[in-house]
Amino acid sequence: MTGPTRAHPWMANSAPGMLEAMLAEIGAANLAEVLEQIPQDHFRKTPLNLPPQLASEMELKRDLLGKLRKNATCEENLSFLGAGVWQHHVPAIVDEIVGRTEFATNVWGSYQSDHGRNQAWFEFSSQLGALLNLDVVQLPVYSWGCAIGHAIRMAARKTGRNKVLLARLSDPERLSVIRTYCQPQEMDGAIEIVLVEPDAATGRLDLADLRGKLGPDVAAVYFENPAYLGTIETEAAQIARLTRAAGAETIVGVDPISLGVMTAPGDYGADIVTGPVQPLGVHMNCGGGVGGFIASRDEPEYVHQYNGFLVSVAETVQPGQLGFGLACPHQNSYGQREHGNDWTGNSTYLWAIAGAVYMSLLGPDGFAEVGRLIISRARYAAKLLAEVPGVRVHWPDTTFKEFVVNFDETGLSVAEINDRLRARGIFGGKDLSGEGLGLGQSALWCVTEVHSAADLRRAAQTLSEVLK
């Protein structure tokens, strides 16, 4: 073996002679001697077939940017896509902080050497707890869907029951994740999923159907507020009462950016609350900005069901000083392997820092303003779109930032309409027509604080043009 003729910038010991020097020091004649554990016939026979090395940063950058330039963005285009990833304003300070190499790094240290990061995490939980009016918030898991999956499993473990009620009008993307967490029924510990019908007039849960399905085998009722199709669940407190009466857990999914104007779930009886982290200062990142939180009341029977990292404040050996560390660390899979609560691992903790910075920037007034702005703009958009001939909006008066736009009367499919809009720089809402929700040629439009009145008028105007 001979070393490389030119060192690689990412490998200090690729400098000429370094490998040879270490080999000499350990008394090995060559690399093969060092690899003595591997039987000869284990070594690969197929040669590697990778694209050419781009060791020069200049060439690498050009390759990356050249490829990425083929993407179109929601910054240059006017996008109304939501449904699990939403275009919200991300403050620059959030980007700065999560981009700091101290945070965006591989290293994982101790409570002391990582004090700053631990404090930022605690501040994420603390501020989110203030929005939710709940005392326990776990560091986020992979996604909202995963958070729901874990929350349902928490409820099942806590109650010893194995059935969960969900809304029929659920996001198929999240529902598929939930099914993965709960089913198939053949498996040990599987949780049966039963769907609750919607009230046709409002899109909300049909309370009669819910009552009928709420039996002694139900571990939990899960509903979202606002729900998948944007509807606000005004009967949330009543649902929680019914659920509690049945001995089941009320699990709620909330959009945290709504909580400056919408009642905190801790105030209408939620036992466990989940939600997406992405609205709190995380870019859409082509879907790579998601994360899901889980929160609950501060009772040991809940706390002991969490699967992941609970950052708690703690004293240090120096009186008066506060530090941070992991509460109940032995109940997760790191501590107990297959006997732990579900499993944990690397997750989306950088977004907890993003969320901490975001919430500290907004404060109570910022959340009130952004919530009011979103719902006002979204309602206005629904109104403008509904005025376009052939266009109808479902449940226009009870949605938050998303709403269902129906095109049945236009004779065109959502796909066709979105193609036409896209040619004019507008990304129309998510196509619902294939989701089996019985909504015909409908699309889920999302309007947030980033959409000005002029944007909304432009969208309505363009829509009427392309429908002509």
Binding site: V34, Q53, C74, S126, L128
Partner: protein
């Protein structure tokens, strides 16, 4: 910095971020507050009220109070790599950051091309036929394996029968944990003196109930199981699926092919082996790859190429369903792609060579330090890219163990080391891994510091026991963490419990 908790900062009405009021035409059309009365928030959330600058200053302080990547970290089992800012900055561009996964594929050709090309790179490195990037980390990739196995066995009508997963007691906890969460019964094989379970024990555990086996190799001791081919064969003999947890890929990348060894599936941690930053715990990616036979059971969508066009293939009727929403942590995939391109085949192979040689250089120097000993001392062959060591002799001599020394190392700008996953088979363990990033000088510094602290442990054990001494805070007391009346996961819980304790103290 003596930095307060953010909840303590600010003043009434302080603002860090303003939003405009709805335009007049909007207010006119929809009124002042369209939130239904029943759901209107009445209380004011107890959040800080600070300026933009104060938020920035506070979190910059916290960043400076985090040692991350500023010193020397030979954190074993996690392969500390250089996290290229070139790719980091590329992914901050709006062409990734401001892109929605439901955009029409015509507007996503760039990112789809990158994912497709990177899929090809991983295929070459592993011999597998298809990768998917949906899992949010290594554990999630293991979970994906269990879901794929469920779909595979369900498709064969054997799901009720194939209920067991076999692994080694020394496998990463995520393997048994995800299998259990997926509803499988876990069988853990104990280790023999040579450092790995015996083939006989495996064969005894395997049966027509075995759905899959999940293995890593080399393990965290730095020991390579030379019977791995026979293991895979034995599993295949009972029809079980074989999953290669490639967490410890660094020592063998470019040298081995999972598929050539007979595995049906494997996973790579892109936030570790492929140079994407782990960011203190994600966003991460566990890239899951498998053979053509298993591919139909993967989570959808997968990226495919049709002519000159890249598409998302969603039409996969046998798919196990989604592991997670959307297609994965796309920016991390781009960074991993960038790493693989910058390294190239020759760089990846060289990195593996360097990792193994550097670890053996460490072993060589560490072996000379009295008070520590190598795990599995009977395994005398040279270890792979990391080695587990034990401080048991020093601990016996001085009472100072691995936790205390890790705390003390931070005082020298050395990031605390990784000890061991549970269970601690080796007493007072620590597991350094040099990888390809760190220089010989860094490694020497690390060992010199360890030697110095071991000397301190003998001469002044109290100094080590009470460490750290120059970190942002002193040693954290652990008693609150298991005590419901003291733990506090939010500031509101802290205030409540503090007041309760004060009231009780007063009573």
């Amino acid at each position: 910095w003596d930095e307060p908790v953010v909840m303590e900062l600010g003043r009434p009405g302080g603002r860090g971020q303003l939003f405009p009021a709805p335009e007049a035409e909007i207010a006119e059309a929809v009124g002042d507050n369209p939130v239904p009365e029943a759901m209107r928030r009445k209380d004011r959330p107890v959040l800080p009220e600070i300026t933009e600058f104060e938020a920035q200053r506070h979190y910059l302080h916290l960043s400076q109070m985090t040692l991350g990547m500023m010193g020397v970290s030979l954190f074993g089992t996690c392969t500390m790599k250089y996290n290229s800012k070139t790719s980091e900055f590329a992914t901050w561009r709006p062409q990734i950051a401001e892109v929605h996964p439901y955009q029409h594929p015509d507007t996503l050709q760039g990112v789809l091309e990158i994912m497709h090309d990177f899929d090809g790179i991983l295929q070459s490195l592993s011999g597998m036929d298809q990768f998917v990037f949906q899992p949010g980390g290594g554990a999630d990739a293991a979970y994906t394996m269990t879901a794929v196995a469920r779909a595979y066995w369900a498709d064969r009508g054997q799901l009720g029968q194939r209920t067991e997963m076999v692994t080694s007691i020394q496998a990463h906890p995520c393997n048994p944990a995800t299998a259990a969460a997926a509803g499988f019964t876990v069988i853990n094989l104990p280790l023999e003196e040579n450092g790995y379970p015996s083939l006989e024990a495996l064969k005894a555990a395997l049966s027509e109930r075995t759905a899959l086996i999940m293995l890593n190799n080399p393990d965290d001791m730095g020991i390579y199981n030379p019977e791995i081919r026979e293991w895979v064969q034995a599993a295949k003999d009972v029809g079980a699926l074989c999953f290669y947890d490639h967490a410890n890929f660094n020592g063998v990348m470019g040298k081995l092919s999972a598929r050539e060894l007979g595995f049906d599936a494997c996973m790579f941690m892109l936030h570790k082996t492929f140079g994407a930053p782990k960011a203190g715990g994600g966003p991460a990616v566990g890239a899951f790859g498998c053979s053509a036979e298993l591919a139909p059971y993967m989570p959808a969508p997968v990226v495919a190429k049709q002519g000159d066009r890249y598409v998302l293939d969603e039409d996969r009727p046998k798919s196990c369903g989604k592991i997670r929403e959307f297609w994965g942590n796309v920016p991390q995939v781009v960074k991993a792609y960038a790493w693989a391109r910058a390294m190239g085949a020759e760089g990846i192979q060289l990195a593996s060579d360097i990792s193994v040689v550097a670890n053996n250089y460490m072993d060589h120097r560490l072996a000379k330090l009295p008070g520590i000993e190598r795990s599995n001392p009977d395994v005398t062959k040279r270890r792979m890219e990391m080695t587990r060591w034990s401080l048991a002799p020093l601990h016996e001599e001085t009472g100072i163990g691995t936790v205390e020394i890790a705390n003390r190392m931070a005082d020298y700008g050395i990031d605390p080391w990784w000890m061991s996953h549970e269970p601690w088979i080796v007493p007072q363990p620590f597991t350094p891994e040099a990888g390809e990033l760190w220089s010989k000088e860094d490694i020497d510094l690390w060992i010199d510091v360890l030697a110095k602290i071991m000397q301190e442990a003998r001469e002044n054990p109290e100094l080590v026991r009470t460490a750290p001494h120059n970190q942002p805070i002193a040693q954290v007391k652990g008693d609150a963490f298991e005590n419901p009346s003291k733990w506090a996961m939010t500031w509101r819980a802290y205030l409540r419990k503090r007041d309760q304790a004060a009231a009780q103290g007063a009573a």
